[in-house]
Subunit: 96 residues, 2 copies
């Protein structure tokens, strides 16, 4: 099993920044309790507050996949699907 | 002074992935010696090896700006400018 890093960018619709931020913040404590969650860190862009970036590390791909099927993650996806403008996810390996 | 997080995505031209990777790896030890460098972590995308992502934390914006003027960073910029396909930099604040 090798550690998997995720960098996920979420862009809120301009009239929904606070609502998206609330949903993202809700996700953090639940996710950090999950088995295999090594790091789960949420950031907001200093120049464009509508942009949020997660930096995550997971014990394995299986742990990441379990996360994405979790009840709290699915509830998050449903809660923001109509209020985000876009998202981009990179699944990565730390090389240095 | 508040910590500044940077997520920087660098996309190599497809025929220059190894060359860009070499330059990125060269950047890491020098940067980690810099004052105010709290984290400087390099990743490669599992699905698209041409994509590299830095996750960085700096003691302050001033420390980050010093980094970008440093000799090793400027040498890196010159070395890759003709062999990268794109880059995207987000300057962020960690909120959770």
């Amino acid at each position: 099993m090798s550690t998997v890093t995720v960098v996920a960018k979420v862009t809120a619709q301009n009239d929904a920044v606070d609502a998206v931020k609330t949903e993202l913040l809700k996700l953090v404590p639940e996710t950090r309790k999950e088995e295999g969650c090594l790091e789960y860190r949420l950031h907001q862009d200093r120049d464009d507050p509508a942009v949020f970036v997660f930096y995550e590390n997971w014990k394995s791909l299986e742990h990441l996949e379990q996360h994405m099927k979790s009840k709290h993650f699915q509830e998050y996806v449903t809660a923001v699907e109509d209020i985000i403008a876009g998202k981009a996810v990179h699944v990565l390996t730390e090389i240095a």
